[in-house]
C-alpha cells in the first residue's frame, strides 16, 4: 500500500499536472467551448422552450398539449401587437399589427429585387427594429418578443411537420442535443479524458528507468512485483482523472444544457433536427446517451492506461515514449472519442469510415471494448515478460 502511495505521489507531479490542465483547457476552448455556449443564437431560445415544455408537459409533447404551446405563441403575438399599437412611430409607416410588419419584412426578404434600401419607410422600420428587434432578431437581442415568437412558431411547425412523417417523434429535446452540439461535446469530453490520461500517466515507468531507480526497485524486497504496484497506482489515477473530468463535464451539461431536466427525454425528437437512432421509438433517452458515454469514458480510459503501462515500460527515454504514446492517444482518443461525431452515436449513416470495414453492425461499443482488450493483452504481456526478463 505504501508503495502504491509513493507511486501515486510520483504520478501526480505538480508541474506536469499544470501543463496537462493548461493544455486540456486550451483544447477545450478551441474544440468544445462553443459547442454548448451559443450566446445570441436562436438555438438558445429553442433550448429554453424545450426546458419549459419538459417542465410543463413531461418528456413528450402530445397533440392536445400542443394547443398550450400555441397559446404561448398567441400571448406573445398579443404582446407584440401592443408594442406596435403603443408606439406612435409605427402608424405613419402603415403598421397596425405584428402580422402586417411580418408580411412587409417577408416581402422585403424574399423579393429582394423590388426592395429599395433607400426607402424612408424601411429606414424608419430599421430604427424601430433596433428598439424592439421585433422581426429580424438581432444577435444581441435574441431574447426579444419577435425572436421568441419566431422560435415558438418554428417549434409548432416542426411538431406539425413531424405528424406527417412515417415515424412520429413526440419527444421534447433541446436542439442543443444534436449532431452539432451535444454529440461533438461528448466526443470532445472523451478525447480530453484520454489526453489527460496520456499526459499524466504515460511516463510512470519511463521516469524510473531514466532516473536509474528501476534497478533499485527490482532488487528491493518487493522485487518485480513493483510493476503491479505501479499498474495499480496508474489505474487508480486513471479512475480519478476520468471521474474528475466527467464531474466537470456533467456540471457544464447540467448548467448549460439542463441535463437533469432533460434526463428522461428521448433523443429522437421533433426538435432534434435529423437524429434517428437505430434504437427505434423513444426508448433512447438523453440520460441513457449520457450513461453510455460515461461507460465509454471508463472503458476507453482503463484500456488506454493499461496500454500506456506497457508502452511506458518498454520506452528507454521520453521521446521514444512520446513516439509510442502519441499513436496510442490518437487510436484511443481520436478514433474512440470521435465515434459520436462521425455519425452520431448509433446512427445508421452510410459513409462513416469504420462502416467501410465493419458493415452496418452496432460498432460503437466494440471500439472501446477492443481498446480495453488490447490494453489488457499489452499489460499482461509486459508483466509476464518482465517476470523473466534479464535486466
Amino acid at each position: 500500500m505504501r508503495l502504491i502511495l509513493h507511486e501515486l505521489k510520483k504520478i501526480w507531479n505538480i508541474k506536469l499536472l499544470i501543463g496537462v490542465v493548461v493544455l486540456c483547457a486550451l483544447v477545450y476552448y478551441v474544440l468544445m467551448g462553443y459547442k454548448l455556449v451559443l450566446g445570441g443564437s436562436q438555438v438558445l431560445l429553442f433550448h429554453e422552450y424545450a426546458l419549459e415544455m419538459t417542465q410543463s408537459f413531461g418528456p413528450t409533447l402530445e397533440p392536445d398539449e400542443l394547443e398550450q404551446v400555441q397559446l404561448w405563441a398567441s400571448d406573445l403575438r398579443a404582446e407584440a401587437d401592443e408594442i406596435i399599437r403603443s408606439d406612435e412611430r409605427f402608424a405613419p409607416l402603415g403598421f397596425k399589427s405584428y402580422q402586417e410588419l411580418c408580411d412587409y419584412v417577408d416581402k422585403g426578404l424574399f423579393e429582394t429585387e423590388d426592395i429599395n434600401f433607400n426607402d424612408p419607410a424601411l429606414k424608419a422600420l430599421n430604427t424601430l427594429n433596433d428598439s424592439y428587434s421585433l422581426v429580424m432578431g438581432k444577435a444581441s437581442e435574441f431574447n426579444s418578443v419577435g425572436s421568441r415568437i419566431d422560435a415558438l412558431e418554428l417549434i409548432i411547425t416542426f411538431y406539425q411537420e413531424e405528424q406527417q412523417e412515417s415515424e412520429v417523434h413526440t419527444g421534447i429535446t433541446s436542439p442543443l442535443i444534436n449532431r452539432d452540439h451535444y454529440f461533438p461535446y461528448m466526443a470532445g469530453a472523451l478525447v480530453l479524458i484520454t489526453l489527460a490520461i496520456s499526459g499524466l500517466l504515460s511516463l510512470t515507468l519511463t521516469r524510473d528507468r531514466m532516473s536509474r531507480v528501476n534497478m533499485l526497485q527490482l532488487s528491493s524486497k518487493r522485487g518485480r512485483r513493483i510493476y503491479q504496484s505501479q499498474l495499480i497506482a496508474m489505474l487508480i489515477s486513471a479512475l480519478a482523472i476520468i471521474t474528475a473530468m466527467l464531474a466537470i463535464f456533467t456540471a457544464v451539461l447540467i448548467t448549460q444544457m439542463g441535463l437533469a431536466v432533460m434526463w428522461n427525454n428521448p433523443v429522437n425528437s421533433f426538435m432534434s433536427w435529423g437524429i434517428d437512432s437505430l434504437i427505434s421509438g423513444n426508448s433512447f433517452t438523453v440520460g441513457v446517451y449520457y450513461l453510455i458515454i460515461v461507460c465509454f469514458a471508463y472503458v476507453l480510459g482503463i484500456g488506454l492506461t493499461l496500454a500506456l503501462f506497457c508502452l511506458s515500460g518498454i520506452s528507454g527515454n521520453y521521446v521514444s515514449l512520446l513516439a509510442k504514446a502519441i499513436p496510442a492517444f490518437i487510436v484511443t482518443g481520436i478514433l474512440g472519442g470521435a465515434m459520436p461525431v462521425w455519425d452520431g452515436l448509433f446512427y445508421n449513416y452510410s459513409y462513416a469510415p469504420y462502416r467501410a470495414f465493419m458493415g452496418e453492425a452496432l460498432f460503437e461499443p466494440v471500439i472501446p471494448l477492443l481498446i480495453l482488450a488490447a490494453g489488457i493483452a499489452m499489460a499482461v504481456w509486459f508483466l509476464r515478460s518482465r517476470r523473466k526478463a534479464e535486466v
Partner: protein, 380 residues
C-alpha cells in the same frame, strides 16, 4: 545524425505515419468511380474542354444501363456549355462579398479591397490562358481536391511531429544518456548544440520528404485517375469554393497545374516543418525535461492557434491579429487556401509565402536566443 538514423523511434514514427496515411488514403475513396471514369476520358480526350474534347466525348459509347453510361451522361452534362468564367469574373467581388457578409470596415476593408484588386491581374491571365476550361475531375473536382489537401495537411502535421521529436531527442540525448558532463566539457563543448540542431533539422526534413513522397505514391496507387489529369489547372471552373456565403472559383495568384500545385504545397509544408522544429529547439533549450518540453510545445501550438481570433475579437488591436495569423500553426490550418487570396483572414497577397518566410525568421531568432540561454546555463 547517426544517432537519429539509428534510432528505432525514427523508424517507428515513419512506419506509423505511412500506416496512418494509407488508412486515410483508403477512406477518402468516396467518388472514386466517377472520378476514375473522368480520368480515363481525360486520357483519351484531353484535359481541356474544347470542341475537340466535345467531339471525342460525343463519339464515346458505353453499354446501356451500365454505371459507365451514367457516368458518361453526367460528364456530358458537367462539360456542356462550360464557359471561361474568368473572362467576366471580377476579383473585387470577393472582397465585396466578404465585407458585406461580415460587416468589415476601416483599414481592414481597404486592405481587403486592395488585395483583391491586385488579384485581378491573375484573373486576366487565367482568362487568357483559358484554364477555367480544364477538366480536372469535372463534377467531383472540389471534393477530390479537398480530399487531396486533407491528405497534404496530414503529411505536414506528421512532418512537424517527427521534426519536433527528432529535435527533442537529439538535444536531450546527452542528458538522457548521462553523457552531458563529458560531452559538453569537450573542446567543442556547447557548440555541439548547433550541430545537433542542424542534424535534427536535416533528419526531420528528410523524414518528412520521405513520408510525403511515399504517401503520395500510395495515394496515387489508390487514386490512379489523378495521374491522367495531373496537368489540369487547379483553378478549373469545376473547382468551386464556398466562402463568405458565396460560391466562387479557386483563384490562385499564379497558374498551377495539379502537379505544380502538389510541389508548391510541399515547398510551403517544408517551411512550416522547419519553423516548428525551430520552435521545438527553442523550447527544448529552455526546458531540460524533454517530456515537459513537448507539453509546453503543445501548449504553445494551441496558443498560436487561438491567439489571432482572440485578438480579432478585441477591437483596438484587431490589426495585430492579422499579423499573428501568419504564424506556422495558423498557416497549416489554412492549407486549403495556400496560393489563393486567403479569404478575409489575410490582408496581404501571398500570405503563405510571407507567413513561412517571417515564421522562419522570427523562430530562427528565437532559436538563437535559446542557444544563447543554453550557452550561459549552468549544466552541472
Amino acid at each position: 545524425m547517426k544517432k537519429l538514423l539509428c534510432s528505432p523511434t525514427l523508424l517507428g514514427l515513419i512506419v506509423a505515419c505511412l500506416l496512418t496515411n494509407t488508412f486515410f488514403s483508403t477512406i477518402v475513396l468516396g467518388s472514386a468511380d466517377y472520378s476514375s471514369y473522368v480520368g480515363n476520358v481525360a486520357e483519351t480526350a484531353g484535359i481541356r474542354v474544347n470542341d475537340e474534347f466535345q467531339n471525342q466525348l460525343a463519339l464515346l459509347q458505353e453499354p446501356k444501363e451500365s454505371p459507365e453510361s451514367y457516368f458518361l451522361e453526367y460528364l456530358r452534362k458537367d462539360t456542356n456549355g462550360l464557359s471561361n468564367l474568368y473572362e467576366t469574373f471580377e476579383a473585387s467581388s470577393i472582397a465585396k462579398s466578404e465585407i458585406a457578409a461580415y460587416g468589415i470596415t476601416g483599414d481592414v476593408a481597404r486592405l481587403l479591397e486592395e488585395k483583391c484588386e491586385a488579384l485581378q491581374a491573375s484573373v486576366d491571365a487565367k482568362a487568357k490562358s483559358g484554364e477555367a476550361l480544364d477538366l480536372y475531375l469535372a463534377g467531383f473536382t472540389t471534393h477530390e481536391h479537398n480530399a487531396l489537401v486533407f491528405i497534404w495537411r496530414m503529411f505536414a502535421l506528421e512532418g512537424a511531429l517527427i521534426g519536433v521529436l527528432m529535435v527533442l531527442l537529439l538535444i536531450g540525448y546527452e542528458q538522457n544518456n548521462r553523457t552531458a558532463a563529458l560531452v559538453f566539457s569537450l573542446r567543442k563543448g556547447r557548440r555541439l548544440m548547433s550541430a545537433k540542431l542542424l542534424a535534427a533539422m536535416a533528419v526531420g526534413l528528410a523524414s518528412f520528404v520521405l513520408v510525403w513522397f511515399a504517401s503520395m505514391a500510395i495515394y496515387l496507387a489508390l487514386h490512379p485517375y489523378l495521374i491522367h489529369i495531373w496537368h489540369s489547372s487547379v483553378s478549373s471552373a469545376f473547382h468551386i469554393v464556398f466562402d463568405s456565403f458565396v460560391f466562387r472559383p479557386f483563384l490562385t495568384w499564379d497558374s498551377f497545374s495539379l502537379f505544380e500545385y502538389a510541389f508548391a504545397q510541399l515547398g510551403i509544408s517544408i517551411g512550416i516543418v522547419l519553423s516548428v522544429m525551430l520552435l521545438g529547439f527553442f523550447i527544448g533549450m529552455l526546458i531540460k525535461n524533454n517530456y515537459l518540453a513537448f507539453f509546453i510545445f503543445l501548449v504553445t501550438v494551441m496558443v498560436l492557434y487561438i491567439l489571432p481570433p482572440t485578438l480579432a475579437s478585441i477591437g483596438q488591436i484587431e490589426m495585430s491579429s492579422y499579423v499573428i495569423n501568419h504564424n506556422p500553426v495558423r498557416l497549416w490550418w489554412m492549407q486549403e487556401y495556400w496560393f489563393t487570396e486567403g479569404t478575409r483572414q489575410y490582408l496581404w497577397p501571398r500570405f503563405e509565402t510571407i507567413g513561412v518566410a517571417s515564421s522562419l525568421l522570427v523562430l530562427s531568432l528565437l532559436a538563437l536566443l535559446g542557444y544563447r540561454h543554453f550557452w550561459r546555463k549552468d549544466l552541472a
